[in-house]
């Protein structure tokens, strides 16, 4: 199928990670973190998710760039119908 799963996977984790980090930054000294043993778990874990999401997104885009440079159609829009059933 023509949609590399790593791209939406990466974007989702980037989005959630950004939300958590942003909220964690806004609530840095909030007493809500007594629940998580005094650690700002939103910033901590949100950062991990940002890194993971970024890595997945990069791997997915890199595969597309490599496909595009191989067949001479660099920058082909993502909406193009994928004629080959085995490319990801």
């Amino acid at each position: 199928m023509g949609l590399d799963l790593r791209i939406p996977l990466g974007l989702m984790f980037l989005s959630i990670g950004a939300l958590m980090c942003g909220y964690g930054a806004l609530t840095w000294h909030s007493p809500i973190y007594a629940q998580s043993l005094g650690q700002n778990i939103n910033v901590l874990w949100g950062s991990v998710m940002l890194i993971f999401g970024g890595l997945m997104f990069f791997l997915g885009r890199r595969a597309r760039w490599q496909e595009g440079s191989t067949d001479g159609t660099v920058g082909r829009p993502d909406t193009a119908v994928d004629a080959s059933p085995r490319r990801h």
Partner: protein
């Protein structure tokens, strides 16, 4: 219980739902044939199929149920992941996938038709179709109950409508992304759900362990039997599971485990979607690796919940802590009073182990992530059943018996409508469960009775060319009958005759319902095996040339010499089994 979610929690859930539906929308344009819709065009890479293979099985009943079992039985629960799954996954990958994939069968019942005959296919297709609908319905029901119990919609939806709204929302979302993108959409979302479950639960394990002093703290707070998976297995009465090692290894490790992982189309369908036979063989092996690690993600929270000191009252100025840590007591919904057993002891609601832990350790923000992970696990279970149902309905029932010569476009359209019908029937099943006491127990019993003998049929069919169609059918019927009779004549200690057994006569007692379940499976498998062999010898086998590609001895072995040694399925399988052995020794 009422859970107040902040805006950020709802936003995180919304992000997840946008991606779930967005993937369906993005994939719609690639659904051009029935092969694209039902089998993802057989174009998915092994790692994606592998994670989907695992995630399709990771419904919330498994996640919640394993947490509950961890709280009740301790590390012995890991047997459901270690010996109860990994050996079967290695076997199906190395030995059975060449037949499932190489035969070009589009479903497991279709393989049975190719190998045996129509009646065997029909029996498996109908029983499997009914089971998947009920399984999906039970997932919906369990999710709606949990949402109700946690009070997530409290103040947003009137309490009396929460159950209905939860069922409706989950049905609409799953229907939407499968209707649009078929099996590919389901697989992609299952991989998303896998990573979400890891992301949602890993911090919980970290925080829980840190709070009680790490692994050493866990060991000092819990009984020793909780921390060992094989301790006391020489006898049923000396371990928390109530079953001895033979019943465990043969009943769970062999019959039930192989009967599920090697024959259930829900998981096999994910491997069949791989982009090559080589990939298809690796799919279960790839899935086995995180499967071995998952006990630390879903079972450990149950232990942590029991080990976390929880004050329940104060007597004469001193705090009284619960004997079961954070596990809440079951309350009578009518009177609000604490439920007690026949000895007057409180009855604990172990199913709430993980949700309680989530609410305890997760502040706003990550709470949204944890709850999204729970919802994701419910939906992956539902979607897996719906995609398996729509393929079996379209290919094995509709095309085979109702409309044999329609165009592929027609079958694609039928698949989409089967998705709608499947979801509607699942909703019906969810409401059926609400209307009858013990129906969930009844359905689980039915599933185990039907699944238990299956593996004998596949084992003989794939590895003994002499097995005949009449024998396979007779074996399945006999095995299921044997399972029924065994259940009807045995009873776990402490249970009353009825849904738990002895509804024919009480001839034998088992120390636990788990032991009864495992021994039912052993009897069902053994009877099926014997009957199938005997009837095969009395009936005419098919010519060998018709069985090429369907039977091990008549099929060229998969070629592996072109692969680097570390990439060969056999190498991966040996590696997985070696890690399994180390884990069992480390936590014995």
């Amino acid at each position: 219980m009422s859970t107040h979610l902040g805006t950020i929690d709802w936003l995180i859930m919304a992000v997840y739902l946008v991606f779930v539906l967005g993937i369906g929308v993005a994939l719609k344009r690639y659904m051009r044939t029935s092969n694209d819709f039902f089998l993802a065009g057989r174009s998915i890479p092994a790692w994606v199929c592998g994670l989907a293979f695992l995630s399709a099985n990771l419904g919330a009943q498994e996640v919640i149920g394993m947490g509950a079992s961890g709280a009740k039985y301790g590390l012995a629960t890991s047997h459901f992941y270690w010996i109860g799954a990994v050996p079967a996954m290695v076997f199906v990958g190395i030995f059975m996938m060449p037949f499932y994939y190489g035969s070009k069968a589009r479903s497991v019942p279709e393989y049975l038709r190719m190998r045996f005959d129509e009646k065997t296919r029909a029996l498996n297709a109908v029983s499997f179709g009914i089971m998947t609908l009920f399984s999906s319905g039970i997932s919906m029901y369990a999710m709606a109950l949990l949402i109700q119990a946690l009070g997530i919609f409290h103040g947003i939806v009137p309490d009396q409508y929460v159950f209905h709204v939860s069922v409706l929302i989950s049905a609409v979302i799953v229907l939407a992304y499968i209707f649009l993108g078929g099996l590919t959409s389901a697989i992609y979302n299952e991989v998303l759900q896998f990573f979400l479950i890891v992301a949602g639960f890993l911090p919980l394990v970290y925080l829980g362990l840190r709070n009680i002093g790490g692994w050493h703290g866990l060991q000092t707070r819990l009984p020793e039997t909780y921390m060992h998976s094989w301790r006391g297995m020489s006898h049923a009465n000396t371990n928390p599971l109530g079953v001895e090692w033979f019943g465990l290894t043969m009943g769970l490790g062999f019959v039930l485990s192989f009967g599920y992982w090697c024959t259930d189309f829900l998981v096999v369908q994910r491997a069949m979607a791989a982009d090559s036979e080589e990939s298809a063989r690796k799919v279960p092996l790839i899935a086995a690796i995180p499967k071995m690690v998952f006990p630390f993600l879903v079972i450990l929270p149950g232990l942590i919940a029991v080990a976390t000191p929880t004050v329940i009252s104060h007597v004469n100025g001193a705090s009284v802590t619960s004997s079961q840590g954070m596990i809440p007591v079951k309350m009578d919904p009518r009177t609000g009073a604490m439920q007690t057993d026949s000895k007057g002891q409180p009855v604990y609601n172990y199913d709430l182990a993980i949700p309680t832990l989530l609410l305890h350790y997760y502040p706003t923000g990550i709470l949204g992530l944890g709850l999204t992970a729970l919802l994701a696990s419910f939906m992956s279970g539902m979607a897996g059943n719906v995609t398996a149902f729509n393929a079996v309905w379209t290919y094995d029932i509709y095309q085979s018996y109702l409309n044999k010569n329609a165009t592929d476009a027609h079958y694609l359209k039928m698949g989409r409508w089967a998705t709608v019908g499947g979801v509607i029937l699942s909703v019906g099943a969810a409401y059926l469960v609400t209307g009858f006491n013990n129906i969930m127990d009844t359905l689980q019993l039915v599933f185990s009775l039907v699944n238990a003998p299956l593996f004998a049929t596949f084992l003989l069919g794939m590895f003994w060319k002499r097995t005949t169609g009449h024998a396979a059918f007779a074996g399945l019927i006999s095995g299921t009958t044997a399972a029924l009779l065994h259940h009807g004549m045995t009873l776990p200690v402490g249970d009353a005759p009825g849904i738990h057994g002895a509804w024919l006569a009480h001839l034998h007692s088992y120390p636990s319902d788990m032991a009864q379940n495992f021994w039912t499976a052993i009897f069902a498998f053994s009877v099926n095996l014997i009957v199938t062999i005997v009837v095969s010898l009395l009936t005419k086998a098919r010519p060998e040339e018709e069985l090429v590609g369907l039977v091990y001895s008549l099929t060229p072995k998969p070629v592996e010499h072109h692969l680097p040694w570390y990439s060969r399925p056999m190498t991966l399988g040996i590696g997985v089994l070696a890690i399994l052995l180390v884990l069992n020794l480390a936590f014995a």
